[in-house]
Amino acid sequence: MTATRQEAAPAHGVVEHSRRLARPAPWGLFALGLLLGAALSALTGFSVVLTVVYGVALGTLAVYAVSRAVEGRRTSFDRLVTCIVTSAFALAMVPLVSLVWTVLSRGLKRLDGDFFNSSMLGIVGEGGGAYHAIFGTLVITGITAVISVPIGLLTAIYLVEYGTGRLKRWITFLVDVMTGIPSIVAGLFAYALFALFFGPGIRLGIMGAIALSVLMIPVVVRSSEEVLKLVPTELREASYALGVPKWRTILKVVVPTAIAGLATGVTLAVARVIGETAPLLITVGIINGTNLDPFQGRMATLPVFAYYQLTQPGFPPEFAIDRAWTAALILIILVMALNIVGRLISRFFAPKTGR
């Protein structure tokens, strides 16, 4: 066996050993490019942005050129693409880091007890807070969840367990389409609906909740549907085999198995609507005092509060602008916290499948 192979190898000529760059070589070349970039930008008055732009371009070029000389056309092109793709990822990180940094550095200033304990009632200039807006947001988001979660869950159960034929296809398709409804259109819908019955110019908390539900339901349906599909058919069949009716199978077997995923989906859906501003702007409006009754007049909500504090700060403007940034910071913290909680739920409470 070994003998034949040894004989065969020389018969086909010498095996070509392609030359490869050592592992750290591309990194070194890239660093060299960055250094050159720094030098180049120093020529025209040093700036960090230009350093990075020149540096990445030169670094990529250096890696490509050396690789082309040593490793040949195909490998060098591969390395070029690697550089481009990695830079693209790094580029996408810039806005995220910059955004979080901006909001943190400007929002921390007013992140104090006063901000959480006082509303804007009778406040001119310094002080004041978002007590009314934070609780307004909680009330409206709570009502939205109460409307959306049952409808979304039931629809998902219909699609996975009951749906057949044309109706199922239509609902799936329209739920997808509904995910893309612009948030402002959802707001206009809620306004048009209420204006028809209560006359023009109406602003109510419940209108905001209905507008947000239009945005939240499709998200709940989509995520719940994905999760319910993952429940093994064997579980259902085992339950049917024991004579359990279908509805009890769904309630006692399918839903409990998927509960962690469902909770994650709902949490992420809440995270999506809690920062929505546009629909609330045109359905709920803003007030300075605390109103927690969604059926009675305007309410304050955190995103709308932030928007008005920034765009209509009054005089002197700096206090309102500080409040706006702190409200934005709280919004980001809320959204991030909901996202993290959602992921944690699915990580820690997922059923052990044993496979």
Binding site: V81, S98, T155, V185, P200, L251, G275, T277
Partner: protein, 314 residues
């Protein structure tokens, strides 16, 4: 085996009360969604109708409804197209990086970080846009006017605040990036492992493998994802309302401070102070936006679903 007597037919399963109630309520919820979507269209039309019927001089601007919506529509499309042109290549590159280049252990975390971009509320993007992005772009606009001023896009005069159409478009690009890259990531990840391994086994480099096995497979997914991003960009409201300095009028000039507004931003800015026919006009423009995004989304879903059928057959 040879017996001719048919086996006794099992009695049809009895429909229990609980089953009927449960099946009914789930079906009802599904149908309710159809009704909501129909309701959105019906109520928007009913509230937009007075503006459609009103004489041209009563519409704000005095040029009739189409004269009112046209510049807004132009601005909407302009910002969305800029966003799409910037975001699509970037999103594809990011998706490739996460699926095929990033260290395996970090890839999931990187995907999560990109998804975080999608979670940030629109109004916070607006804050960031006006406070950080716009001032950061001012030197570039001055440079562009000086050196690229012969192009109609950079004719200037360059904005001193940076609140231009290009800033708005770039900000939208950041906002739709995670949407496109999420879908691209999904389809790239599903490229058949056998095709990929076959390419590598034949001696293809990583890029050649991607070009031959992954990109052809993921093409329609990327197109669909880009259109979903377009739908999102068309409807984006407050980020643009905050960042864009709008004065109406149709212009291709991307770096000056007089820009057409977008439909959604215009509604957000005008609606709180509007009464009477102005409200109906705004709702009519919202209806136009609804129809456009609906069409874009339907097309996108159709493209994406077609690919899903195709991959299911494989």
């Amino acid at each position: 085996m040879t017996t001719t007597t048919a086996p006794p037919q099992p009695a049809p399963p009895k429909r229990r009360m609980g089953d009927r109630v449960f099946a009914g309520s789930t079906t009802g919820a599904g149908v309710l969604i159809l009704l909501v979507l129909a309701g959105v269209a019906i109520f928007l039309i009913s509230e937009a109708w007075p503006a459609v019927m009103a004489p041209a001089r009563d519409i704000p601007g005095g040029h009739g409804l189409s004269g009112y919506i046209a510049p807004l529509l132009f601005g909407t499309l302009m910002a969305a197209v800029i966003a799409l042109l910037v975001a699509t290549p970037l999103a594809v590159a990011i998706a490739l990086y996460i699926t095929y280049y990033a260290p395996r252990r970090l890839a999931a975390a990187m995907g999560y970080v990109i998804d975080l971009l999608a979670a940030i509320p629109s109004v916070v993007y607006g804050f960031w846009g006006i406070a950080t992005l716009a001032p950061a772009l001012v030197p570039f606009y001055a440079w562009a006017q000086m050196h690229l001023g012969f192009l109609p896009f950079f004719a200037g005069p360059a904005s001193a605040t940076g609140r231009t159409m290009l800033t708005a478009g770039l900000m939208l690009a950041v906002m739709i990036l995670p949407i496109i890259s999420a879908i691209a990531r999904e389809v790239f990840g599903q490229a058949p492992a056998l095709h990929r391994e076959a390419a590598l086994a034949l001696g293809a480099t990583r890029w050649e493998m991607i070009r031959m096995a992954v990109l052809p497979y993921g093409k329609s997914g990327v197109i669909g994802g880009a259109m979903l991003g377009l739908g999102r960009a068309l409807g984006e409201t407050l980020a643009i309302a905050i960042v864009l300095s709008a004065s109406g009028g149709i212009t291709f000039n991307l770096i000056s401070s007089s820009n057409p507004s977008t439909i959604a931003a215009n509604i957000a800015l005008q609606f709180p102070e509007s009464t009477g026919l102005d409200v109906n006009t705004l709702i009519a423009s919202g209806l136009a936006l609804f129809v456009i995004t609906l069409a874009v989304n339907m097309l996108a879903r159709w493209v994406v679903n077609r690919r899903a059928d195709f991959s299911g057959a494989n």
